[in-house]
């Protein structure tokens, strides 16, 4: 399948006169295949929105190459823009216009049939409120309008930056159905989100970014599989020994996350190693099971953003990946 979106070695440094430079993207790579729903994940401030803005020509990168629908952007953006629908980070609309006016002005500007306005308003559930001023809309209603504006063009590629932000549970589920339906009809969807349960349900593949670099990518199943078996949960006969046992394992080179009644141990070759190491010190394992990985725990591990008791993690504390092969990173 041809790549609909390809980014390699993307770099962006924000410069401001007062606060100096901030490197938001540091040799970032990403590939999205045609017809898939692709999750774009990363901690706050890792560069997701920056990537999408760069891709859409809103900001100028400092290096790297990008293609959209097979054409180099930003050079070819005027040609492909018609086929790319996007919302970027809780989009704002002119508050005094109604939803219908907002969309019909966009339709006019983009040469889209006015008929579409009614269709997308229906599709995102704003039909009966379309005549009201956008300024009076709730967060989720604005978000629905944003999705409507992205769908208006009937794009081949749909780029959504946190589309579920502010949606109610029903709305999130509708969004899920909508996206699966769009993908089934051949549209490619790129979706940045923090709701990983949702991503795991909707997405075919993911890219995980941390500190401006890609730390993992591939089909969801592969990403999970690569990290399944990487950890085991350990219960002891006596729960009082947990912290002592944790020290033993750490000393032996494992990575340990204590939980209420068990230890989550990773960085071990074979589960048996845990049993043996503990038995040597006189701790007896009562239960040993592979960690059932979900996307959330893989994400936390890969980005190293799992909360640690007693520590307030700061936004830029996350994993720094070695630069990818062929990347432009240091």
């Amino acid at each position: 399948m041809p790549a609909v979106l390809e980014i390699s070695g993307l770099e962006k440094t924000y410069r401001s006169r007062r606060r100096g430079a901030r490197k938001a993207l540091d040799g970032f790579d990403m590939v999205v295949e045609s017809g898939e729903v692709h999750g774009f994940l990363g901690p706050n401030g890792s560069g997701k929105t920056t990537t999408l803005r760069t891709l859409l020509g809103l900001i100028t990168p400092n290096g790297g190459t990008m293609t959209l629908l097979g054409q180099r952007v930003p050079a070819a953006l005027p040609h492909v823009a018609r086929r790319v629908g996007a919302i970027v980070e809780s989009p704002q609309f002119f508050p005094n216009f109604s939803a219908r006016d907002t969309l019909s002005l966009l339709a006019d500007a983009g040469g889209v049939n006015k008929q579409r306005v009614t269709e997308v308003l229906e599709q995102v559930g704003l039909r009966d409120r379309a005549k009201e001023r956008v300024g009076t809309y709730s967060l989720g209603m604005k978000q629905r309008l944003a999705v409507a504006s992205a769908l208006l063009k009937q794009p081949d590629l749909l780029i959504l930056d946190e589309p579920a932000n502010g949606l109610d549970p029903g709305g999130i589920r509708e969004m899920r159905t909508l996206m699966r339906g769009l993908a089934a009809s051949g549209m490619t969807v790129v979706l940045s989100s923090h709701i990983l349960g949702e991503v795991q349900l909707i997405c075919d593949s993911v890219t995980i970014i941390s500190r401006g670099r890609r730390v993992a990518y591939g089909p969801v199943a592969d990403v999970l599989a690569q990290h399944a078996g990487a950890g085991v949960t350990v219960k002891l006969e006596s729960a009082d020994d947990l912290s002592a046992a944790a020290e033993v394992l750490i000393a032996a080179g494992a990575r340990v996350t204590p939980e209420a009644d068990r230890l989550v141990v990773s960085n071990v070759e074979k589960p048996a190693w845990v049993t043996r190491t503990l038995a040597e010190k006189g701790y007896f394992v009562s239960e040993l099971a592979p960690v059932k990985v979900d996307l959330e725990s893989v994400f936390l591990e890969l980005t190293q953003t799992a909360p640690v008791a007693g520590q307030a993690r700061q936004v830029d504390d996350s994993a720094v990946a070695a630069p990818a092969q062929g990347g432009w990173g240091v």
Partner: protein, 338 residues
Amino acid sequence: MSLAKAEVRRLFKRRVTRIFLAITLIGLAIFPVAFVFNSKPSTPEVRAAAEAEATRNFDQSVVQFQAMVAECEAAKARGETGLDDRYGPNCGADFGPQREWYTAEQFMPYEFNFRDEFPPSLAVLAAILAMVAFVIGASFVGAEWNSGGMMNLLLWRPRRIPVLLTKLGVLIGAMFGLTVVVGALWTAAFWAIGRYDGNLGKLTAGVWQSFALSGARGAALVLLAATLGFCLASIGRHTAMALGVGIGAIVISEIGLRILFELVRVQFGDRWILSTYLVAWFDKSLKITNWRACELATGPCTPPEYIVTWQQSSVLLGAALVLAVFGAVWSIRRRDVI
């Protein structure tokens, strides 16, 4: 083309545009109405009434004069002295009021004269329209930037400079249309006042041509103001930027500099003041007189003069225009849209 159509719709859907246009039209309508109320055409009846009033006034002063002379003569008969100082020689009897001092013109009511009074009214119209155009232009693009509407639009039309220039073109076109329509109504209203409720004056082809030229100069000012407001708001990405610069320029130039020049006694200080150039542009030239050079105590003196021409104005205004448009284009091209 579709973008231009969308922008025209957007411009006239905006509340700022609608409210400002409504207020402007109502405000402008006050002027002709006020003239209608004040102007009285000089019909034969009005002239006859004024003539009668002049005669009545003359008669009244003759009566007063004769009373005064009589009083003086009575005093003289009583043998008072020093009367010449108070009444003049011969009791002032040789200096009675003359009939020709009392003309009907002095007693005519105000009569609007189209030919003489229309050109200054054009200046007023241009000034008002220019202010409105500045605000509408600034808000048209400023609110777009500020609300994120511009970003949305750029997702649909990624060519930034054509997008900006299309918006500017739509604004200029709309303001030009507004100026032409309002200008035509304005002319028609004042012409009608002159014709039916005043005096048209002698309207030759040359006079009309000069009206047309004044109108064109005024229209150019309106379009300049719209462009400056638009470009400043686009550079600052906020309506307030343009309004701030506009108000700042007025305060600094018209108040600050004037006070400063007064304090440090600058010769021809008006040369450095913005409104001088606006007036010169509109009136073809403006004479600044340096009264300060004259020592009035030492007798008569012709103060030195400095003439600001409309050519100088057009260089200044043209430079401001080029700078603003260039700045706006450069900034939308180079700066990230966040």
